[in-house]
């Protein structure tokens, strides 16, 4: 890690609490934005490293939320342990979705969407376990550890920030590893990578599990912060839509794109769009998504850094997209 990212993370831990620590409203907005950033990061990990676009990350978010909430409430599992189990539950749920790995891009995206719907209906129907449409009330909040109350806004902020940093480190570790290289090669030509002996399906499956785990932990965190769950909330389309918008907006091929995207999109939505248009303010998500795909499919970050790109030495090899375009 270079100095700049470390400085930003340090600022998030030290400066933000001092500046915003007393403003509960802004802090709760930031917590929600960081939760979405965590899902967006997990979505981008699957999209960038695994090469798979998902339209149903709500499936993993919801399973994580329910697993953690039920373990903590009914079995008295300590909350932080339950959150970890929530991630594991979502990872387990991703195993159920693995037949979809055989499907190509758009089919995979829509198959995961179907899974999210199926999970939502099941959560509604399994009243014995989930409480059905009535939902679960009074989910245990984040605990007090060593005298520090994590259920406060500041505590929750530090928890989600830590989860996000861990997520970034995991993403980075995978990306820079031998497997990350194999995944990158797979993105250029899956058949060629198979030929030289890379178990591409197993690698994709691993990315799905990691992504589901991250989304599940985010869901678990959210459940303990909100303290209430119902199927139509835990598996809501929002949890699938916002990560896509955020990651595409920020640039899903970069590490910081999805996180910046989630922060910008969510804060814009809550502070600006919602006050301008009380009903239907999510229309702006659609507009932003469409505009990004049309004008800068690789996201906002490349768009912002493009003016500076000409000061760098030009690359000799064309990008894969350009090669494909030339071939077609």
């Amino acid at each position: 890690m270079r100095a700049f990212p470390i400085a930003i993370v340090a600022a998030c831990y030290l400066v933000v609490p001092v500046v915003l620590g007393s403003n509960d409203y802004i802090l709760s907005l930031v917590i929600a934005a960081l939760t979405l950033a965590a899902i967006a990061l997990s979505w981008a990990l699957l999209g960038n490293l695994g090469g798979m676009v998902s339209f149903g990350h709500a499936a993993f978010f919801g399973v994580g939320a329910y697993t953690s909430a039920l373990l903590a409430k009914d079995l008295g599992v300590p909350v932080f342990l339950a959150m970890l189990a929530g991630g594991a539950g979502a990872a387990l749920a991703s195993v159920v979705t693995m037949p979809a790995l055989r499907l190509r891009g758009p089919y995979f995206a829509l198959a995961i969407l179907a899974y999210a719907q199926i999970f939502r209906i099941l959560a509604n129907q399994m009243t014995g376990v989930t409480g059905g449409a009535g939902g679960i009330l009074s989910i245990p909040p984040l605990p007090t550890v060593f005298g520090f109350d994590f259920s406060s806004k500041l505590g929750a902020y530090l928890v989600i920030l830590t989860l996000l940093v861990l997520g970034i480190l995991a993403y980075k570790a995978i990306r820079d590893s031998y497997w990350g290289l194999a995944l990158k090669a797979m993105h250029d030509s899956e058949d060629a990578t198979r030929v030289i002996g890379v178990p591409s399906t197993r690698l994709k499956a691993a990315m799905l599990v990691v992504s589901a785990f991250m989304a599940g932990v985010a869901g678990a965190f959210n459940a303990h912060v909100i303290g209430f769950l119902e199927p139509d909330y835990a598996f809501a389309g929002t949890w699938s839509v916002i990560p896509v918008v955020a990651a595409i907006f920020g640039g899903y091929r970069t590490l910081s794109g999805p996180i910046l995207g989630a922060l910008v999109i969510y804060l814009l939505d809550q502070l600006l769009f919602k006050t301008l248009m009380p009903q239907g303010h999510q229309i702006m998500f659609g507009v932003l998504l469409g505009a990004m795909i049309l004008f800068s499919p690789s996201g906002l970050l490349p768009l912002l850094t493009k003016p500076f790109a000409r000061f760098k030495p030009a690359k000799r090899t064309p990008t894969p997209e350009k090669r494909h375009a030339a071939a077609a």
């Binding site: 979809a100 499907l103 999510q282």
Partner: protein, 291 residues
């Protein structure tokens, strides 16, 4: 019990007629341009709300509002084409995300204009019972739009297979450059396919409004239903759409009768996944590769 099963079989087949209407436009675009229009359900819903406004504000019978609904949806559909055709790279996936965004815009537009309330028609004729042979019950709206579904499926099949533009469209789909050499303008044919998809979505919307109830969140479900039917039918197979729609209809009504109405949606989703995993080319598809 067997009467109930027979009745749900009948109701399912009738529902299949208007499900086919909902799916045809999506199938057409998907089969010819390989673009999955995720805003399709929202376009159907837009037509339904226009029919609602025509009825509740101006007292026009929803069926007579079809031209208005169709005009609005065709315009939307052409705009969708205008945006989709601007995509240069990785069109299959980027058009999916783009139309997903258009769907969000349309859903929220509907929410802003018509609010989140549930609407349905108040014209009594649509809900009059039609009884066949003392055993099979339905409403006149169901019968009307079942027949419309049959008729329009046949018409689309004929158009795509026999008419000049239909053949031009298939030519562009199979080899764009060769079609251009044969004097076919690919952009014109693609615009026409979006116009026809809009036309079908417009009629489907009015059908939806008279047969069922509408609310702004429905668009997403309609898109999924249309896509399920399209996959079930097999890539671009028009008669397959009718059969697939009827299968979904029957499966849904059987689920309602034998299990519970809460599981209706589950049936469609499970069938969708099963078809994708077991027979990805659909029931009537020529060998299309999805895996």
């Amino acid at each position: 019990m067997s009467e109930l099963v027979l009745q749900s079989l009948y109701a399912g087949l009738l529902a299949g007629g208007y499900y086919a209407l909902i799916a045809l436009g999506l199938t057409l675009i998907f089969g010819t341009m390989k673009v999955i229009n995720l805003a399709h359900g929202e376009m159907v819903l837009l037509a339904a709300y226009i029919a609602y406004t025509a009825e509740s504000v101006y007292g026009i019978n929803p069926v007579l509002a079809i031209p208005l609904a169709v005009a609005a949806v065709v315009l939307t559909s052409v705009m969708v084409y205008g945006l989709v055709s601007r995509i240069r790279q990785d069109r299959e996936l980027n058009s999916l995300i783009l139309t997903f965004g258009i769907g969000i815009v349309l859903t929220n537009f509907v929410l802003m204009v018509w609010s989140a309330d549930i609407r349905s028609t108040n014209v009594p004729w649509f809900n009059e019972p039609v009884v066949i042979g003392e055993a099979f019950y339905s409403t006149s709206a169901q019968v009307l739009f079942f027949l419309a579904g049959l008729g329009l499926t046949a018409a689309l099949w004929w158009w795509l297979g026999r008419s000049w533009y239909g053949r031009a469209l298939r030519a562009v789909a199979s080899n764009r450059n060769a079609a251009m050499l044969m004097g076919v303008n690919p952009r014109t044919t693609e615009v026409i396919s979006f116009v026809i998809a809009g036309l079908l979505a417009g009629i489907a919307g009015v059908a939806l409004y008279t047969v069922a109830v509408i609310h702004p969140d429905l668009g997403h479900n309609l898109t999924i239903k249309a896509f399920v039917i399209t996959v079930l039918a097999g890539l671009g197979s028009i008669p397959g759409v009718l059969v697939g729609a009827m299968l979904i209809g029957v499966a849904e009504y059987m689920t309602i009768t034998l299990a519970s109405s809460a599981l209706q949606e589950l049936t469609g989703m499970v069938m969708f996944l099963l078809v994708l995993f077991i027979r990805p080319s659909g029931l009537f598809g020529s060998r299309g590769r999805v895996g």
